[in-house]
Symmetry: C2
Subunit: 128 residues, 2 copies
């Protein structure tokens, strides 16, 4: 599924400069600009680093999503997201997310497959 | 979301006796009885143990799902599932899964929240 196409025309994109924190592990902060509740992000341009306790967990490229955990379960951020390069992000708030799940079932399947891939990798790491 | 209600009237339930393997880590086996492709299961009665390399990862009770990873990403089973007690399961094949995602968006959200919870736990374990 090409999320770049899906989010390319998002009107409320956000830019971050290299090194800037997008959110911190433990954050429960709400983002007024995108409505109530947590947002997930689709990377439109640049790279984003996901880390915890100063260990890099993932590096994300355009077309990839992050921050979906807090959107799905309303818990604090499980990891820190930092702009690795200057980047352009499309935030997806809960309202838009639920709308997309309803209108585009393959978006739901895609989010599940992203979660599944991360869960497989994490399980391998946890039991190594 | 009460998956027990959703699957209580499934017609093709399967029973396993205590100690019986439901699937093994690495399995790519297809399940002809439930149509082509991998199935996930909803626990209707009893308990199921999820393990890898003889370490228990989770113990699942009625209303909980497992096996959703292979359904979502068509990869081999990431862990072994064993009946901890005699149990009754509702298998959900790909066709039914896609149907439910389309017809019941909150089913999709529920599956995502299950994946999210497991991913959070695994991330904590991996980085402990």
């Amino acid at each position: 599924m090409d999320l770049l196409q899906l989010f390319r025309h998002a009107e409320d994109t956000q830019t971050f400069t290299a090194g800037q924190t997008i959110f911190d592990a433990g954050d429960t902060q709400r983002v007024p600009a995108s409505g109530p509740g947590a947002v997930m992000y689709d990377v439109l341009q640049g790279e984003v680093e996901i880390s915890l306790n100063n260990k890099t967990i993932e590096t994300l490229a355009p077309g990839e999503i992050f921050g979906e955990l807090s959107l799905v379960d309303q818990s604090p951020r499980s990891a820190t997201a930092t702009a690795k390069t200057d980047c352009l992000l499309a935030p997806v708030n809960e309202r838009r997310f639920l709308f997309m799940v309803q209108e585009t079932p393959y978006f739901a399947i895609h989010v599940m497959s992203v979660l599944a891939a991360r869960l497989r990798r994490r399980t391998e790491e946890a039991l190594r």
